[in-house]
Each structure stands twice: as structure tokens, then as C-alpha cells.
Symmetry: C2
Subunit: 363 residues, 2 copies
């Protein structure tokens, strides 16, 4: 009988019919950007019709015509690394406030998989991208920026292209960690980190070396070791090597918290109890490290806030987030503050000459 069977969700046509207007008019009445385009009484009639029908515009149909998907692609190297979930949560929350959703591509640090997943994102017409993948030499960034969609980088430096980025103050973080260790009397300090083609690795290693001058430490006694990846097993291997080759090391700044975990294991195996004989500092303050034994001293980066800020920045560039558009932030690079969280994995250095591993009895 009826032309349309009225099955399923109500469409804009149903709303228009109920309000007694043309679908096009209904569409405009429901669009907050078209404020004033439609007279107040008509708009109200349409809105109430939509309300009574429980009308929700179909994002798919909208995307097709309007070329605006309200989807943001988020490229993350490895969701199993506990640093990332809080970042993603921050992104999701900021996006949700503006009616956007995040489509997360978990690349698992695999270039092929990254290519596939990113292609899938692009096929879905994301309005913009947030990239937290860390490799400097990948093809992802060029591929994404070749389209006109805005891209925001998270927790990584830009490569050649100058893209807006949200990160944390790595130099200050590293300096605070090393200053803390130096203050505890440590003189021979190692930085165990990952491959230098990761931007965070570069930045932090450089900051570490520069501590020599600033903190009055001997440049030769600040050791940097690059491992194949920022993982616990690699850190364990590297730390064991280090401790046998340079037994004078009394403190390690790990490239991230996962590497600190590997250092714990190495310390135990090498008979260098932490923190009595070996102080260990992590990086990121990812969830649960305060429950480790010993609780990890680490550099906190505001993970959730970084994600939130990155999404806000992207929404601004997309024009018309509900936030104040007049902040006039020309700065393309936002650096969030870091802070050193001192827990139990760092302690005063044993006096020089004392055999490593000897217990410091009687205070």
C-alpha cells in the first residue's frame, strides 16, 4: 500500500512528512550550521518531529554526499603496549564530544600490516588522521598527507614534512631523570633504548647525552646502547651485556617502561638487586607500573591528555569544533609537560669501590 514500508529506522523523509515540509528543508532545519536559514517555527516543527520519531541521521548516507565522515583514523603501532590505550581513550573522548568517532588501526609494528590498515582507513574517507606510529622511515605519513586530509602526529617528531604534532617534553623528562640519579650519587649511568630510526629514541638519546654538560657529569660515563626494539626481552639482553661489560654502571635509564621491566630481570640475574645495587628509571609511567616490585621510578607523560589534545587540535583544523576557535594557536607543535615520578626503583648509589651487590647494612 504505502510507497515506503516504514520499516527500519526513520529517514529524513519520514521526518519531513510528519513536519509537513520538504526533505531538503528538514535537512536544513536539523543542521546547526544553517542557523537562521529556516524560520524558527518551521525548524521547531521539524525538530519535534525528529524527536518524536527518534530520528538519527544515517552517517553513511551523509558521508556519501557531504564528503564528511565524522571518522578520524588513528594509527597506533601496538595496542598491547600499555602506553597507547590511555592515549586512544583521550582521543576518543575528545572526538566523542564533537560527534566524531575514532577508527583505530593497530599496525603491530609490521610494515605490511600498516600499509593494509592505513589503506583501509583511507578507503573509509576519514576526515583526518592521528598518527602515533613511531618509525621515521615509513611510507604511511607521505601516503596520508598526499591526500588533503589533516594529519596530526602524536608522540613523535615530524620527518621531513612539517606537520602539527602533540608530544611531551622529552628533553625535560630525560633531564629530570638523570638529575635525579645524579643527585643520588650515580656517576656511571646508561641509557638503554631502541633503534635510532624511532623518533623518540633519537630525541631522548640526544637529551641524555646533553646532560653531561648541564649536570656536570662526565661525558664518557653516560653510556647509550641501542637495542633492536623497545621491548622487555631486548632490554634484558642489552642490560646483561652492559652489566658484564661495564660493571661500574649503577643506574639505567630505560627507553620505556617495558624496557625497565627487562632491566629488572637482568638486574636480578646479574646479582645486582634493584634498587640497592642498581637504580632503574623507566619512561612513560604506563598503567600498573606503580604495582611492580620495586615500584618503578619513571618519567610520566600525560598520555590521556596528549591524546585528548591531539584530537582537539585536529578538530580545530577541521574547522568548527565546539571549542573556542579564537584561541589563535599558531603553534604547530604542542609539548605537554613531563614529570618525574619517584618510586622505589631508584636509591642512592653504593659508594665507589664497594663490590656491587654487597648489601648496605646498617643504613
Amino acid at each position: 500500500m504505502a510507497a515506503r514500508p516504514t520499516t527500519g529506522r526513520p529517514t529524513i523523509r519520514d521526518v519531513a512528512e510528519l513536519a509537513g515540509v520538504h526533505p531538503g528543508t528538514a535537512s536544513r532545519a536539523l543542521d546547526p550550521r544553517r542557523e537562521g536559514r529556516i524560520s524558527a517555527p518551521t525548524a521547531e516543527r521539524v525538530r519535534s518531529a525528529a524527536r518524536s520519531l527518534g530520528y538519527v541521521p544515517d552517517p553513511i548516507a551523509r558521508t556519501l554526499r557531504a564528503r564528511r565522515s565524522a571518522v578520524i583514523g588513528v594509527v597506533v603501532p601496538d595496542l598491547a603496549n600499555p602506553v597507547f590505550p590511555p592515549i586512544v581513550s583521550g582521543i576518543e573522548d575528545a572526538l566523542a564530544e564533537a560527534g566524531y568517532v575514532a577508527l583505530v588501526a593497530n599496525t603491530g609494528n609490521d610494515p605490511g600490516r600498516e600499509r593494509d590498515r592505513v589503506a583501509a582507513l583511507q578507503a573509509r574517507r576519514c576526515d583526518g588522521y592521528i598518527v602515533a606510529s613511531a618509525t621515521l622511515d615509513g611510507t604511511t605519513i607521505p601516503r596520508l598527507t598526499s591526500a588533503a586530509d589533516p594529519v596530526i602526529l602524536v608522540n613523535r617528531e615530524t620527518g621531513d614534512l612539517d606537520l602539527p604534532a602533540v608530544g611531551s617534553d622529552d628533553r625535560a623528562g630525560v633531564r629530570a631523570a638523570v638529575a635525579h640519579l645524579a643527585g643520588l650519587g650515580h656517576r656511571v649511568i646508561a641509557h638503554l633504548t631502541g633503534p635510532p630510526n624511532l623518533s623518540v629514541v633519537q630525541t631522548r638519546a640526544e637529551a641524555f647525552r646533553s646532560c653531561a654538560g648541564q649536570l656536570g657529569l662526565d661525558r664518557d660515563q653516560l653510556i647509550v646502547r641501542h637495542g633492536p626494539a623497545l621491548t622487555a626481552p631486548d632490554a634484558k639482553d642489552a642490560a646483561l651485556d652492559l652489566l658484564t661489560q661495564v660493571p661500574a654502571v649503577t643506574a639505567i635509564l630505560a627507553g620505556n617502561d617495558l624496557m625497565a621491566l627487562g632491566c629488572y630481570a637482568a638486574a636480578q640475574q646479574a646479582g645486582r638487586p634493584c634498587p640497592a645495587s642498581l637504580s632503574i628509571v623507566g619512561y612513560n609511567d604506563m598503567p600498573f607500573v606503580e604495582w611492580w616490585r620495586p615500584a618503578l621510578t619513571t618519567v610520566r607523560i600525560p598520555q590521556y591528555d596528549i591524546g585528548y589534545e591531539a584530537a582537539r587540535l585536529l578538530l580545530e583544523r577541521l574547522g568548527g569544533g565546539p571549542g573556542s576557535p579564537d584561541t589563535g594557536r599558531p603553534a604547530k607543535h604542542v609539548l605537554m609537560p613531563t614529570s618525574l615520578i619517584i618510586r622505589s626503583s631508584t636509591a642512592a648509589a653504593a659508594e665507589p669501590g664497594r663490590p656491587p651487590g654487597a648489601s648496605v647494612s646498617g643504613g
Copy 2:
């Protein structure tokens, strides 16, 4: 000049034009399900045209007309809980093989947020849903099943509705853990877990109690304590209470690995070193627990495989996954095997009468 400006991605019309056929024909030629509908030479012409143009069908347009989005909604309580990323990875990989993508809704255990996020999923016309959210009393499941889309449950029992589910053999897992502890001489064993409105909590607690008969343990000495949530802080509080109220407890089976972490802290604070004076068993074998000190003895559930299997099952129900459709699996509930991973957080019980915490010298 040209009617279409040939800007942006090539469309099916471009392909059709290049191949000298009608767009509809091109569409059919590219559809593997329409095998044979189009003659081989024509199909090949279209395919090569598509290839040379780098044509990728627009999922948005396809969805609008075909009512098939190739998107699966995944509802997860908390991505920051390390159990879930591997499950999600398994889901993503299985879906990717079939050309589907996962849209993950992270509810953060917040009912309001869960409602919003699930509504966003539904608006996007997901073809199906995988729900790993654990609460039994939420409105999510009824809301999702009220539409016709298939829903698969992961790692949770069904509520009233009988839905297909993929889980792990919790009863066997709990039994193995308790048997292990009993074999080490433990007699007073506690199960510290979360609120009983979580299905896994119910199942495991019940399995724990039923060990009394099967393993010849005294029913009164199998203690179950429900905390407010399956988190480390709650576990710590509960464990401290327990250890003061029932000092005879020599082993704890935690509701999950996070709770085991809380138990570590409680054990230390209560002067009941683990494993010498208190054995602790976790549940899930989530990433990195082998790096804890002591390395956690825990019940492994095949997280990745569970996710993978759930996605496969869903694809089968959607009809036409590339997998064998003739397996004829009528079983709606798939139970993956669990295994007990014995590490260093469990040890022989101190002999009765010996003061807790005394070291067992001389083996």
C-alpha cells in the same frame, strides 16, 4: 570540459568507461560472488581496467546501497586492561582476511559511555557485533540483538538470550589452578574476585567452590571473597583484610592477573612474602606477567585465539566467509582450552604450625 572532472579516486564509472562496459556490468564483473554472471573475457577486461586505474570500491557508497558495511562493532570494557588488546588483535586479523574491519567501542566500564558508544556503532550499520563487555545486567545486549544483526559474545556467559559465544574453559582452568595449589600442600585457599554481576566472576567462583569435592579439600577452607571490581587496588584491600582475618590462608587464586598484582602488594605489606609464605595464582596470563617478580603463575586463556575464533564464527554467520562453510558446527558455544602456566609465584605450603613467613631452610 569533461562532465566529470576525473578528480580524486577513480569510480566504477571510470572503470566501466575504460573497459567499454556499463557501470552495472563492471560492478558485477568485480563481484566474486557473481562468478560466471559475466563472461570471462569481459570480466578480465574490467579487472584489468580496475587494476590499471587503481580502483578501490568506495565502502561508503557500497554500504548505502548494499546494506552491508563490512564493519564489525567490537564492544570492549577497557582497552587499558592488557587482556583485551590480544583479543582485539585476533578479531582484527580474522576480519581483515575477509575484508572486514573492526570498529572498537571502548566503554571504560561506564554504562553511560557504553550506551553512547554502542549507539554510535549501530548508527554506522555494523554488519555484526562482538561483545566482550562483561556485565550481565546491561542494556547493551538486548539493544544489539533487537536489530537483526548477529552478535557473538566473548569471554562471558549469555544472559537470558541464547547467543553464540566464544570463551575459555573456566572450570577446567580454575580446577587446574586449585589442583596445583593442593598438590603443593595448600589447604586453606582463597579466591579473591570481583562483583558477582560479572559472568566470569560467577563461573569461576562456582568452579572454585566445586573443587572441594573433586580435590578432596575441606569446603570450609575454600574461601571466596567478592570485591567491588577486578582491579589491583581492590584486590590489595581485600587481600589485606583476608590475611588479617584468616591468617591460615596460604594461597590465593586471584580473579584475574591485575588482582594478582594487588595481592603481591598486600603480601609484601602483610609480611607474607610470595611465594615463600603466600602463593598467588593469577588468571588470564596477560602480556608481561612473566616479567613480574615473582613471575606469575597463572591460568592462560588463549586470548588471541579467542578473538580470532569469535570473528570467524561471526563471519560464518554472516554467510560466506572464505572458510569452509561445511564444518557444520551447530555448537553455539565454543570453549577454548585453558592451561596452567606455572612460574614463580607459587611454592610449597609452609608446614602447618610453622609461623608464616619463616624461611624453609635446607629444603
